[in-house]
């Protein structure tokens, strides 16, 4: 062996003695502190990190005093825990902040939803009020229409005999009031009366279909009576239309002697049979 190499080995041994290898515990402690100081602990838990640094310094001190002592290992062990604690503390603080953030977000979201629900409730309320107003208005209108119809019926009852039958409301006008004997032309007084009937029909039954029926007694030829009944019915219809009853909902029919309401053997009975009936169909009311 060459003297130079020998001296290198000797030097290495001496140097080795001066710088004893650190125990595994201290290596771990240094690594743990390194990791903690580079992690979130620097920001979140500086106090705990400082304690960890002090613990590491103490371990380093023990190592330089007595490298192989139990104390060096113990202090290193403790320093490792302190570094880990600083790290765990930082993670706990971050989790706490996450929680607070989520709770805040939850509160804001809930508030938004509440606001939304409130505005929906308000609009529903508003719509309901509107519907109620409409219903009330409709009720008023219906009541007014019913009142009008009742008033019209009362008006009619004053000028003509009004009966309610299965075929509808029947307004019966005596033939002698409307026409001269064997005539189909309305008497002037009859026009006035029919105008009142027309007004009542427009007022009380503006949508109903109306049939005007011309009835006669059984005296004379049947065909003549049929024609007379039809002509009289048409005269009445024309008068009603001229007063404003819609032409498309009113028609005339000649019934003649076919449907007497009284005995044709007496003059009184025949007078009752000579008549015009205005039938207001209830179906389209």
């Amino acid at each position: 062996m060459r003297p130079a190499l020998l001296s290198v080995i000797a030097f290495s041994l001496i140097a080795g003695c001066g710088n004893a290898l650190p125990p595994k515990e201290l290596v771990d402690a240094r690594a743990a502190y390194q990791a903690a100081s580079k992690g979130p602990a620097a920001q979140q838990s500086p106090a705990e990190l400082h304690v960890a640094k002090q613990a590491l310094d103490r371990a380093e001190g023990a190592f330089s005093d007595e490298p192989d002592s139990a104390e060096t290992k113990d202090y290193s062990y403790i320093a490792t825990r302190k570094a880990e604690l600083a790290d765990a503390s930082a993670r706990a603080i971050i989790a706490q902040k996450d929680r607070e953030g989520a709770e805040k977000e939850g509160i804001n979201l809930t508030a938004d939803q509440l606001k939304h629900a409130r505005s929906e409730l308000n609009s529903t309320k508003h719509n309901l009020e509107k519907t109620q107003d409409q219903l009330a208005a409709e009720k008023l209108a219906r009541e007014a229409a019913e009142k009008k119809a009742a008033q019209a019926l009362a008006d009619l009852s004053k000028i003509a005999a009004v009966t309610k039958e299965a075929r509808g409301m029947v307004i019966t006008l005596s033939g002698s009031v409307l026409f001269a004997t064997n005539e189909a032309t309305l008497l002037p007084a009859a026009m006035v009366k029919l105008n009142e009937v027309a007004d009542a029909l427009i007022k009380g039954n503006p949508d109903s279909n109306i049939t005007v029926e011309g009835h006669t007694d059984s005296q004379g030829q049947r065909q003549y009576n049929m024609d007379l009944g039809r002509k009289r019915a048409e005269s009445v219809r024309e008068q009603l239309v001229s007063r404003g009853v819609a032409a498309d909902r009113i028609k005339a029919a000649g019934i003649g002697p076919d449907r007497p309401v009284a005995n044709n053997t007496s003059a009184e009975g025949r007078a009752n049979n000579r008549r015009v009936e205005i039938v207001v169909d209830p179906g389209k009311h």
Binding site: A70, Y77, E84, L85, A88, S89, A92, A95, T110
Partner: protein, 118 residues
Amino acid sequence: MRKTLFITVILIASLLMACGSSVAPPSDRLSSAEAASRSAKELGANNDPKAQLHLKLATEQIDQAKKLMADGDNKRAELILQRANADAELSVMLAKEANAKTEADKAQQTVKKIKENK
């Protein structure tokens, strides 16, 4: 001669006493290590594997320290208790971390549910 013997006995006795009482029993350290262990347990350290490990280490070292104190080795017991304390305190913090994470998860789940309900 008798006097010399007496003095020697006194000297030896005082030396022995001095040795035995050179380090006082680390009762305070023991109490604080035990208190930290209890805290860790109450915080649910046994529900988290890492916290549980350090609680176990602390408990074992406390037992070890008690034996050392019974044998009169207060100096060694003192250091073992420092280790136990470090483990117990770490266990406390790990349990706190686990709890904080659970709470954060819960809060985030709630937010998710609220968003789904929208």
